[in-house]
Structures are given as structure tokens and as C-alpha cells.
């Protein structure tokens, strides 16, 4: 059963069911209860174990016909409720049906005297699963930090401790970035713009320049002549980006008048 459902809520339910086995013997099961029950089972093996235990059946000598009948009745109810049945339940239904028919066939004693019981594989799986069901309960009962164990944690005094901050290599930064992009791509597939970083950098420096100068700066003041043509283009592109983002505004009082640039917001 897939556990896209809230695991915690599920946990509460499953624990209840596990201890109380609330499926009534008669056929009528309130639909609401059934959903809870369905969600409480951890899959076909869990359901089968439950059916076997409920009737006090011998797990090593499962009456296949009887168990199959109950299992199928359960599947029928679920299907009639149009609950999405996990494929695993249907596979188990097929397995049981096959077992049932094989049990009906007379055993051939020609080749081997002790032909393996057709149920052997199923029994092995049920026993193995049961072992781990118990193991899971065992782990759940272990003393656990913050539930049964409280670890002592004492503050250090407020006097500062001089510690040199960790060093970072550029490579680590690049790995971090490629990882975050990879994750982002997985979550929302979209192409990543290959932007010129110099434009991004210029955006940052324009913003801080404009905040420092607080007020208007003429466009020409923003252009650094020593950067030549390429520099001017970068500045222009950065300015356009900032305009698009609404981070700066451009004012011109008339044609051929100087162009002024300002931060749109006052920084407090």
C-alpha cells in the first residue's frame, strides 16, 4: 500500500487496528471503517496473516480454499467501494487462486515421494514477514531519544569563544550550485537561462551605487568609459534587467535631455 497518506495519521490507525482487529465476522462493514481497515493493512501478506490469525488457523497448514474465499470477499468489497487497489493485492489474489486449484489436483507420486507442498512458498513468505512485523514492534519499543530518553544539554557560558570559520573552496560552491540546479530541474523541468554573469554582477553594483548615491544618477555617470563599448553594453543590459524587475526607474524630462536613473524604492 502506498503511503502517500499522512504517515502519522496512518500510524495511529494502524496501531489501533493491529491490536484490536476490528473487522466484524458478519459481512456488513461500514464503508468508512473499511477504508480505515484498508489503510491499516501493509499489503497482501499483512492481510493474509490477519485472516489466518483471526480464525486461529494453522499457518503451516493453511486451508487455502477458506482463506482464498475470505481474501477474495475482502477484495470484492474493496473493489465495490471503488478503492484503488494496489496491484500487490491482485497479484496475491491470483497466487491464491492458483494455489487453490493446485491443491484440488491429486498429487502425483510418480517422480518424488515427497513432492513439495504447493503452499510452501507462501508459508515461507508469511513466516518471514511475520518475523519482521515483530521486529518492527521490537524497534518501536526500544527506548527512544525524546520519548523515553532525555539527553542532557547544557549551554556554554556567554563568553565568546574564538573560532576560525570553516574554509570553503570554489569547487565546493560549484558542486553545491550544480546540485541545487539538478534538484530544481527534477522538481520543475524548465530550461535554465544562460545569462551573462557580468550583467548580473553589474545589476548588483548598479543597485548599490544607486543606494549609496541616494537619489538620481545620470545614465552617463553609470557608464564607465574605461570599460569601453563592452562595458557600456553590459551596463545597459543590467539597467534593462533592473527596469524589467521594477527595481529602478528611468526619468527623462524631454527628448535629448539627460536620462536619470533611480532606485524605485527608498531604502530605509
Amino acid at each position: 500500500m502506498s503511503d502517500t497518506v499522512d504517515e502519522q495519521a496512518l500510524a495511529e490507525d494502524s496501531l489501533v487496528v493491529q491490536h484490536d482487529y476490528p473487522i466484524p465476522d458478519d459481512l456488513f462493514i461500514p464503508p468508512d471503517a473499511l477504508i480505515v481497515i484498508l489503510e491499516a493493512f501493509e499489503g497482501p501478506l499483512d492481510l493474509l496473516l490477519y485472516l489466518i490469525r483471526r480464525k486461529n488457523l494453522d499457518i503451516l497448514d493453511i486451508p487455502v480454499a477458506e482463506v482464498t474465499e475470505q481474501y477474495m470477499a475482502y477484495i470484492d468489497v474493496l473493489t465495490s467501494l471503488r478503492l484503488d487497489l494496489a496491484g500487490d493485492y491482485l497479484v496475491m489474489a491470483a497466487t491464491l487462486a492458483e494455489l487453490k486449484s493446485r491443491m484440488l489436483l491429486p498429487r502425483r507420486n510418480e517422480d518424488s515421494e515427497e513432492e513439495e507442498d504447493p503452499r510452501a512458498e507462501l508459508v515461507r513468505r508469511l513466516l518471514e514477514y511475520e518475523v519482521f512485523q515483530k521486529a518492527a514492534e521490537g524497534i518501536d519499543e526500544l527506548p527512544r531519544v525524546d520519548r523515553d530518553i532525555f539527553v542532557v544539554s547544557v549551554e556554554r557560558s556567554d563568553e565568546p569563544i574564538e573560532i576560525e570559520p570553516p574554509k570553503v573552496e570554489l569547487r565546493e560552491l560549484l558542486v553545491a550550485f550544480s546540485e541545487v540546479l539538478e534538484r530544481d530541474n527534477l522538481r520543475s523541468p524548465h530550461s535554465i537561462d544562460v545569462e551573462s554573469l557580468s550583467v548580473r554582477e553589474r545589476m548588483t553594483s548598479l543597485l548599490s551605487l544607486l543606494s549609496v548615491k541616494d537619489g538620481y544618477l545620470s545614465f552617463l555617470e553609470l557608464i564607465n568609459v574605461s570599460e569601453r563599448r563592452e562595458g557600456a553594453v553590459v551596463t545597459l543590459l543590467a539597467l534593462l534587467e533592473l527596469l524589467r524587475d521594477g527595481l529602478v526607474s528611468v526619468v527623462q524630462h524631454g527628448s535629448y535631455e539627460p536620462i536619470f536613473v533611480a532606485r524605485t524604492n527608498e531604502i530605509g
Binding site: F150, V151, V152, S153, V154, E155, R156, S157, E159, I161, E162, I163, E164, P165, P166, K167, V168, L170, R171, E172, L173, L174, V175, A176, F177, S178, E179, V180, L181, E182, R183, D184, R187, I192, D193, V194, E195, S196, L197, S198, R200, E201, M203, T204, L207, S208, S211, D245, G246, L247, R263, T264, N265, I267
Partner: protein
């Protein structure tokens, strides 16, 4: 009512586990509930006596009972700071992945707001992370963006370039190249 030594140990347990200091009032509530109709004055006295016992008891111990604004707490005596400093130095001297990713996003996508970083990373960015990066001198606040809530925008500093030996941000590998080569050529970061 509980006996003094029992109260002392209960308070000890509470102070050693509590994340924040505990006031007399809080201690009294925590201890009283068990019995119900304890005498308030008696409980207060019991708590004070216990606190005194704990204080004396710490004389030959590495921690002490301290009263701060909001109550009492246990803290390690300052003379043991040198050991704590060593412990911290021994810890893997690395920044968290969250911090490096945040820094990388700021470098490549500046000016960028916290919300935009969170959008790409898919998880919340802690104030602590941003503060660490600012304290480290790698990023700076660029002003608020004209959006609801006026979020702060971040960018890298000149010191960031110096630290990573970059002449300009252009020296950072272009994104496409980075994505193509990242998986193959970059070894996992050594622990």
C-alpha cells in the same frame, strides 16, 4: 509533598534538559501539579532550598547554576571554554550544504531575494544561514524589492570575489558548462 532531595533532583533534571531558562514560577507549576493542593509558600521555599543545594553542589563540577533574565539555567563554567573551543574545532570544519547552496544561488542569480532562493532550493532558508554569509563578508543586502512584503535582495561582495580568487563573477563557470560537467568531472567533496 515531595521531599527536598527529590525536588532538588527533579529541578536538576528539568534545568539540564530545558532549552530555555526556567523561572521560579515555571518550576513551581511543574512541581506542584503532581500533588494538587500543595501550599504555595511551602513549594516556593522548597524550590529555593533546592536551588541553593544545586548551587553548592556545583562547586566541584564543570557546570553551574546561573540566574538570567527569564529564570535559571545550567551552563558550563567559562574556564572550560577552551575545551569547548577544541571540540568545535574538531568538528568537521565545513559549512552545511544549505549554506553553500544559498551562497551559490546568490552568486549566480543576484540580485535575489530569500523567497527566490527558497523557490529554487525547495526548502526554507534560515535567517541564521543568511546572517552567517553576511558575517562572513561574502554577501550583502542590496535593498528591498518592490514586492508585497518588500523582501530584501542579496548579492555577493568584492570580498567574495577575492576569497574565491575570481576577477569578476564572469570567472564563475557558465551554467550550461557547469551542468554538463558537474556530474562527471567534479569529484565528491572530501569529507
Amino acid at each position: 509533598m515531595i521531599e527536598l532531595n527529590e525536588v532538588r533532583k527533579a529541578i536538576e533534571a528539568l534545568l539540564l534538559v530545558a532549552e530555555d531558562p526556567l523561572s521560579r514560577g515555571q518550576l513551581s507549576n511543574l512541581l506542584k501539579e503532581s500533588d494538587g493542593d500543595d501550599d504555595n509558600v511551602a513549594v516556593a521555599q522548597l524550590i529555593d532550598e533546592s536551588l541553593n543545594l544545586i548551587r553548592e553542589d556545583c562547586a566541584d563540577r564543570a557546570y553551574e547554576l546561573v540566574e538570567v533574565g527569564s529564570g535559571f539555567r545550567m551552563q558550563v563554567k567559562p574556564e572550560f571554554n577552551k575545551w569547548i573551543a577544541k571540540l568545535w574545532m574538531q568538528r568537521p570544519r565545513r559549512y552545511s550544504r544549505a549554506l553553500l547552496e544559498t551562497l551559490a544561488l546568490i552568486a549566480y542569480r543576484q540580485p535575489i531575494t530569500r523567497g527566490e532562493i527558497e523557490q529554487v532550493r525547495g526548502v526554507a532558508v534560515s535567517s541564521y544561514t543568511l546572517r552567517t554569509l553576511v558575517d562572513r563578508g561574502w554577501i550583502r543586502e542590496l535593498g528591498q524589492k518592490e514586492l508585497p512584503g518588500r523582501p530584501m535582495m542579496y548579492g555577493t561582495t568584492r570580498y567574495f570575489l577575492d576569497y574565491f580568487s575570481l576577477k569578476s563573477l564572469d570567472d564563475l563557470p557558465p551554467l550550461r558548462e557547469l551542468q554538463e560537467s558537474a556530474a562527471e568531472t567534479l569529484d565528491p567533496v572530501p569529507q
